[in-house]
Every structure is written in structure tokens, then in C-alpha cells.
């Protein structure tokens, strides 16, 4: 008889590493397959011991694990124990219990929100400045382009239509300063895009990074067109797509939202933001190339 033993999968998100320990054979292999990256060699900044519970009920899976998160002393719980977590930010260790339904099929994308929170706990421990943004990130000719939009705006479509280029991600991209040693929530220095392991619908994502040269707010349209947008409106739209800097030890509160607003203000101050109206064909790159030539010329 072979007994299950704990295995640890180390998920790299930017410069942070999250250790996820769980019982079971093939655990690390399955996580490597899901996240399309090998378990990292670096020591984790946060370690979570994961317990998965079978259940007979059919729990409702909320779209957001932020808005329904209820903190208590030393941890939090979500949606009638769909998730229960104890976490010590001082040691960076915790226990995470989830119902099996949260790890089934597309629900894994909801589970990933817990790992985004683990990333923010790790980033805080290390003083890392990277911000996660709901967006698609593409590198073309060494330039990084960020395509921002809510669900259904076309992030995955942009990624699919950019498969001849270097697609970092179609769901969550990291924006980070080029300069090392920045403070959390302070995007000082030139900005770069960086891929993350989080999953959207596009299956051809590749790790990498590039200087961030433009942010496009996605809008469906009858033709490909790039047009200006008032800065306040751009700031509001980007704010709503920044993953709030909520760690495992935090609740989503006004302070977190204020931090996302400040981040969006920095982005709109430092990077050109335009609206990209597009239809689902790769012709939008012609509009972007013309825009790039115009701005660099």
C-alpha cells in the first residue's frame, strides 16, 4: 500500500513564489500542467497547506472571492465554508481548506483568486511592487501592449488574434517597475509588462516581459480604430480592472480600493491610454502599428 504524502508545488508569480502543499500522488504534476509552468526552485514567500473536502451539497460558486470574503481572527471564510483559511502574515504560512467543487473544471479560475491574494501577501512580505491587472498582454517587436477590459470585452479574442506574437496572458498580467527595489503600490521607474500563471481561455500564453508602451481599453466596434479617452474615464476603467491588493490576511475595503485608484492614476500618468475599437480579426494590429509609428515618429 502506498500512502499519500504532502507534496509542494511552488507557483512563481512575478518575483514572488507561493508554496502550495497538498496530499496525493500526481498533485505537483497536475498543478504544473494546469499552470503551464514547472514547480519553481526558489524558496516560497508564502506556504499554504491545501485540504480538499468532498461534499454532497452543490455549493454556489461566487464569481468573486473578494466581495464575499468574511475575515475573522487569524483567517477568513467564504460562502458557507466553500473556503476556510487560517493565515499568519508574520510567518507567511497558513492552512487553506476548500470544497472539491472549487477545484473542478472552470471553477479553478475562481480558486485562482485565492492565489492572487496569496501573491499580495507574498509581495507585501517581500516589498514587491508588481500590480496584477485584468487584461491581456502582448509583446510585439519588443514592445509591451496591455489590453484592458471586463469579461466579454475581448481580451481572449485579442490574445487569439495575436498568436503570431508573444502573448503573455489573456486574463491577468503584471505591471511592474523596471527598477528593482520599488515599494509596494509605487510604480516608480519605467514600467514593464510581465506574464503571470493565471489562466483565461487562451492556451498559448508564454512567460516573458517587455517595456509597457501603451494601454488600450477594449471596445467592440464596426472597424478598427484607436481614439483618445479623457484621463478621468481611463483612470476609472483601469481602476475597475486592477486586482485589489488584498492579501490573505485582508478584507476588501475602501483602503484597498483607494490603492487601486492610486495605481490607476500612476498608470494613466505614465503610459498612453487609448480606446481600441476593434472587430474580431487581426487587422487591429495594423491600427496599433500605425499608432506606434505615429507616437514614436
Amino acid at each position: 500500500m502506498v500512502e499519500d504524502r504532502y507534496e509542494e508545488f511552488r507557483l512563481r508569480v512575478g518575483d514572488a513564489v507561493i508554496g502550495l502543499r497538498a496530499l496525493g500522488p500526481q498533485y505537483v504534476t497536475s498543478m504544473e500542467s494546469y499552470f503551464q509552468q514547472p514547480s519553481d526552485d526558489a524558496e516560497p514567500d508564502v506556504i499554504l497547506t491545501l485540504s480538499v473536502f468532498d461534499h454532497t451539497d452543490q455549493p454556489r460558486i461566487p464569481a468573486s472571492l473578494y466581495t464575499v470574503k468574511e475575515t475573522d481572527t487569524g483567517g477568513f471564510h467564504i460562502a458557507d465554508d466553500l473556503v476556510r483559511c487560517r493565515f499568519d502574515p508574520a510567518t507567511g504560512t497558513g492552512e487553506l481548506s476548500v470544497k472539491a467543487a472549487l477545484l473542478a473544471g472552470r471553477n479553478m479560475r475562481v480558486f485562482e483568486q485565492l492565489l492572487m491574494q496569496a501573491y499580495h501577501s507574498a509581495a507585501r512580505r517581500r516589498g514587491l511592487p508588481g500590480q496584477l491587472v485584468h487584461s491581456a498582454g502582448v509583446i510585439r517587436d519588443g514592445r509591451g501592449y496591455l489590453f484592458v477590459g471586463e469579461s466579454g470585452a475581448g481580451k481572449s479574442t485579442v490574445a487569439e488574434l495575436s498568436s503570431d506574437h508573444h502573448v503573455l496572458n489573456d486574463e491577468i498580467v503584471m505591471v511592474t517597475p523596471d527598477l528593482a527595489g520599488g515599494l509596494a503600490n509605487n510604480l516608480s521607474g519605467d514600467l514593464s509588462l510581465r506574464g503571470t500563471p493565471f489562466n483565461g481561455f487562451f492556451t498559448g500564453k508564454q512567460p516573458g516581459s517587455a517595456p509597457l508602451v501603451a494601454i488600450f481599453l477594449l471596445a467592440h466596434g464596426p472597424a478598427h480604430r484607436i481614439r483618445g479617452v479623457p484621463r478621468a474615464e481611463a483612470t476609472a476603467q483601469i481602476t475597475s480592472q486592477i486586482v485589489p491588493p488584498v492579501g490573505l490576511e485582508d478584507a476588501l475595503d475602501g483602503k484597498a480600493t483607494a490603492a487601486t485608484l492610486e495605481t490607476a492614476i500612476q498608470l494613466t500618468e505614465r503610459v498612453p491610454v487609448k480606446i481600441l475599437e476593434f472587430r474580431p480579426d487581426e487587422g487591429f494590429w495594423t491600427a496599433i502599428d500605425e499608432y506606434t509609428r505615429h507616437t514614436e515618429g
Partner: protein, 92 residues
């Protein structure tokens, strides 16, 4: 329509950031972002807790060269919206 002699007062609990001639606000519950264009930002700047709506209309007419009726209608619409969003209150 708001009484013209009422005084709009800013909600001090909201986060306000001016971006050049535009403004963004974080709602009192911290969950919604509101924006103001150039004219709205100008009006926001007039809301100091002492100036009433009549005085603000006069200032809009002076700066933007619009009729008093247009200025009053625009101000009424904006202030009503701001009150609805919890950004300002109206005091007598």
C-alpha cells in the same frame, strides 16, 4: 430642482483626485469610481461649503460664457447627480 440659495457641501469622506482639468472620486462605500469632466471639475472647485448655487451659476457664466439658464440647468443636473452619489449634500 434644488433651491438656488442652497449651499452644496462636499462629503469629506470620499477620496478625490484631480487629474489636470478632470477629477475622479471614490464613492463613500469605496466601491465605485465617479468622474468629472472639465466643467464638472470647475464646479467642484466652487463647492467650498460657503458658496450657494446662485453664486456658482454666476461664476459658470463668467468663465464659460454661457447663459444663466443654461448654467443653472447644467448645475442643477450635476448637483442632483452628486447628491445621489453621496458626493455632496445640500444645506439651507
Amino acid at each position: 430642482m434644488a433651491s438656488p440659495h442652497r449651499i452644496p457641501v462636499r462629503n469629506e469622506d470620499i477620496l478625490v483626485r484631480e487629474l489636470g482639468k478632470e477629477t475622479v472620486f471614490l464613492s463613500p462605500d469605496g466601491r465605485t469610481i465617479h468622474t468629472l469632466d472639465e466643467v464638472g471639475t470647475f464646479i467642484w472647485a466652487q463647492i467650498d461649503g460657503r458658496t450657494d448655487l446662485v453664486q456658482i451659476v454666476a461664476e459658470i457664466c463668467r468663465v464659460f460664457a454661457v447663459t444663466e439658464a443654461t448654467a443653472a440647468a447644467d448645475l442643477d443636473e450635476l448637483v442632483t447627480e452628486m447628491v445621489h452619489k453621496g458626493l455632496v449634500t445640500l444645506q439651507s
